[in-house]
């Protein structure tokens, strides 16, 4: 039996949830080990938790501004880009969310991204290269994908994932630094040498695998959310072919985006580095191969 949209969506949600749990546990374990080794005690734990919250809140409130300015996007003129504004409004009506702010990214590489912490404060941007090659229906498909990201709260999710990832790396650096350069006072004080040694070894192992783990988790969540945005985008317009045709055009375009970075790659409809034009599912790629996405869209039962 072919999967329906609801199946796909609920499966995706379960996977994402699982990923978040695993990442949080990993972060917790690393935090525990580091604080134990450094002997910070309760104050350490509270401080650590407090830091996580502040860090997330700041990122969360500024994610849209950061993404818009990092890509050099400018507000789209309502007269000059009449059709784009119309299409965004149409799809917003279909999705039942307010119309997001519309931006243009001056770049020949066809791409689009959405940002903003909730549907009420969302923005989306398309590149000039995208507008050149897409017809109205394909543009509608692309916009539906972006609006699906907004409605599924993917920006919030990816911000949290990125924040957790950043913290893991930060903790690791802190751990490595203090073990090798500043951790002397601890060894002279305590007697439980064996337990401390085990902790140290565990800490070292965690430190080594941490960046790999972070990259893997981020990429895996991002790929799941791309599939989900394709499926819910198709559900919003009830016309998967529009998005499928648009993805095929993106596949054939071969133009990477200049001002994209690893930190915002997951926001785009297609990988801004052009990595997703190959056929293999890379463990570290933020986007599934376009061919695979097109195939899944064509299989959907609306």
């Amino acid at each position: 039996m072919r999967p329906t949209l609801y199946d796909l969506i609920s499966k995706n949600k379960r996977k994402t949830f699982l990923f978040i749990i695993v990442t949080s546990l990993f972060l917790g374990a690393l935090g525990y080990v580091v604080i134990r080794i450094l002997d910070w005690g309760t104050v350490g734990y509270i401080g650590f938790a407090f830091f996580i919250i502040i860090y997330n809140v700041v990122l969360y409130y500024n994610s849209d501004k950061i993404a818009i300015s990092a890509t050099g996007s400018v507000p789209a003129d309502p007269d000059e880009f009449r059709m784009l504004h119309n299409v965004v409004e149409e799809v917003s009506i279909a999705a039942g969310i307010p119309k997001p702010k519309v931006y243009i990214t001056p770049s020949p590489g066809p791409n689009a991204f959405a940002t903003g912490r909730n549907p009420q404060k969302a923005s989306l941007a398309v590149t000039t290269g995208l507008l050149e090659i897409m017809n109205r229906q394909e543009l509608q498909g692309v916009i539906a994908h972006e609006i699906a990201h907004i409605r599924n709260y993917d920006i919030l999710l990816m911000t949290v994932v990125a924040a957790i990832g950043g913290l893991i790396i930060l903790l690791r650096d802190f751990f490595l630094y203090s073990t090798f350069w500043g951790g002397r006072r601890r060894s002279s004080r305590k007697s439980g040498g064996q337990a401390a040694l085990i902790l140290l070894v565990v800490g070292l192992i965690l430190a080594i695998i941490a960046p790999l783990f972070v990259a893997l988790i981020r990429a895996a969540i991002s790929r799941q959310r791309e599939y989900l945005a394709d499926a819910s985008g198709a559900y919003i317009t009830r016309y998967p072919q529009g998005l499928a045709q648009a993805l095929a055009k993106l596949r054939d375009a071969h133009k990477p985006l200049k001002r994209a970075s690893q930190s915002n790659a997951h926001l785009f409809i297609a990988s801004p580095f052009g990595k997703d034009r190959t056929n293999a599912v890379g463990l570290f790629s933020t986007h599934p191969p376009l061919d695979l996405r097109i195939e899944r869209l064509n299989k959907l039962v609306i």
């Binding site: 009449r82 059709m83 119309n86 299409v87 409004e89 149409e90 799809v91 009506i93 279909a94 999705a95 039942g96 109205r136 229906q137 509608q140 317009t237 009830r238 016309y239």
Partner: protein, 181 residues
């Protein structure tokens, strides 16, 4: 005694939760309808402009103009969702034939004003059909909820009535290609 008290509190809380849930869903239905209404009105406003522009190039196609004008006022006068849906579906079909007429006049097709109106009308048609899709989704959800137990008890106490769908024309029900003039 305490058990009875707890039971009453639980019941009251559940009652309030159900009632509020129903109100939220009913509001969604009303918003959905308002959204359709806004887009229908927008189309009513665009039509005279369009007819004027086409007339400038194809004055003798009177039949189509008259039909569009008549259907427009009929759709504007509709009172129930069902009536409005029927009238507007015919209006959509007639507008398609108006654009088919325009195909025969190359000068008209190159007219900038006409092209703008064409884009606006395409957008409005899409908005209407998306708004209808959204409205029907929330109506389905609302109608299903007020029939479920225990919501049905609260629904009948406060006369939450089931709502009419805004029906799509038969040809659009199967696949959903958005209107393209």
């Amino acid at each position: 005694m305490i058990i009875l008290l707890i039971l009453i509190i639980v019941l009251v809380v559940a009652f309030i939760a159900i009632y509020n849930g129903l109100v939220v869903k009913r509001t969604r239905v009303e918003n959905g309808w308002a959204q359709i209404d806004v887009q229908l009105k927008r189309r009513y406003d665009l039509i005279p402009n369009l007819v004027e522009t086409v007339k400038g190039y194809a004055a003798h196609e009177k039949e189509v103009f008259e039909k569009v004008a008549e259907l427009r006022s009929r759709a504007m006068g509709a009172t129930s969702p069902k009536e409005s849906a029927e009238a507007n579906n015919i209006l959509t079909a007639t507008l398609k034939s108006l654009f088919a007429v325009a195909e025969n006049y190359p000068q008209l097709k190159a007219n900038e004003n006409f092209l703008k109106l064409q884009e606006e009308l395409t957008a409005t048609e899409n908005k209407i059909s998306f708004a209808r899709q959204f409205y029907n989704d929330v109506v389905m959800d609302y109608n299903a909820t007020i029939q479920k137990f225990p919501q049905t008890i609260v629904a009948s106490m406060f006369s939450f009535k089931s709502r009419e769908f805004f029906e799509a024309p038969a040809e659009e029900r199967e696949t959903v290609p958005k209107v393209k003039f």
